[in-house]
């Protein structure tokens, strides 16, 4: 069982809490804090530690169940699905353009950075 110490929940004011719960657990799976086939903290544990209504935590977990990232073992609790990390990586690749590239290019344009200049900057970042 993974301790809650490995969970570094950072909450913001803008997104609904159940989404933030789902996102934080997903992040923990993505960065390897929660390994595949390992148990994740229970609804009650998360609820107690972060002072969130258990129904809200459960709603967040159900999002991950529906994405097949976690599954329930009867009488034991929630476990990370096999292949969960791969699913997350694939999904994030799809979102990469919308979430990062669009913003990135818009800001570059606001700063009058040319396309060639921008490509140079990306190369610089890669070679760091």
């Amino acid at each position: 069982m993974i301790g809650l110490k490995n969970m570094k929940f950072k909450f913001n004011d803008t997104d609904p809490i159940y989404l933030q719960v789902a996102n934080q657990i997903e992040d923990a799976i993505f960065n390897g804090s929660f390994l595949e086939e390992e148990q994740i903290p229970s609804t009650t544990e998360i609820s107690k530690n972060f002072h969130i209504n258990p129904a809200t935590v459960l709603k967040g977990m159900n999002i991950l169940v529906n994405k097949s990232l976690i599954y329930k073992k009867r009488g034991l609790g929630m476990f990370v699905s096999k292949g969960a990390r791969e699913i997350i990586i694939e999904h994030r690749k799809e979102l990469f353009y919308d979430q990062f590239v669009t913003d990135f290019v818009r800001e570059a344009k606001n700063l009058h950075i040319s396309e060639a200049n921008l490509l140079d900057l990306i190369k610089r970042g890669y070679n760091k």
């Binding site: 609904p16 009650t44 002072h51 209504n53």
Partner: protein, 288 residues
Amino acid sequence: MSELKLEQINKSFGKKTILSNINLSFSENKIYGLLGRNGAGKSTLLNIIVNRIFADSGMVRIDGENINDNDRKLDLMYLMSEVDLYANGDKLSKILENTEKLYGGFNWELSEKLAKKFEINLDQKYGKLSTGYHSIFKLIIALCVPVKFVILDEPILGLDANHRDLFYSELLQSYSDNPRTFIISTHLIEEVTNIISDVVILDNSRILLAAPVEEILDQAYGIVGPQNEVDDYTKGLNIIGTDKMGNLKTTYVYGNLNDNPVPDTVQISNLDLQKLFVLLTSKNGGNN
């Protein structure tokens, strides 16, 4: 299903109206936050619910039955409040025993666990406790009595940050182990925002809002940008307040946004419950 219903409750003290036409319902196994400014009528409302004081008119029902003088229904509720019901000379352990007799049950295992966690010695007398420990002792009772409705009026009065933290955790543990309805009145809105599932806002003796927290926050927005563009965009919306810094304006909106395109220079974000509460309940509508 246990449902607690308030129907057309009115209450005045002398010429002063405290509660005006209150209609509310509390459903089973939810955690409600009762919010209101000082003097809004929260404590009066909670005392009417448990029949400690009487409404001038209206009715409180549990599962359709009037609770007035109805011991079977009154035993389903416990109100923890600032009012001290215990004699200073009474030993804490004795008070717990009497509580068990009164309510026909008591969770001794939990009370021992909580006494240990809060470091409270049950062999001492009630009068020896500090303000904070008075609250803690009453909270222990509230969590250990076998009721369907646990009503907490300013439960964290005098508790330091560590004890508040511990209390919220233990409240949620107890709720998970034994789901029941909680009604919590508090001024520390930020601390309970995520704990409560539903909120009731009392303002000027009336119910201003009663709905799930998620639903409320979903339609509370702060719209920031250059004054002209913000004003254009928010025309016709339900504006509940504004802030200005130079030409940068924030307009707060409660309700649906329109389908107009959002200008590039304008940013929309959601409000938190405390900010929304302040805007809705301040006399000047939050205008600076």
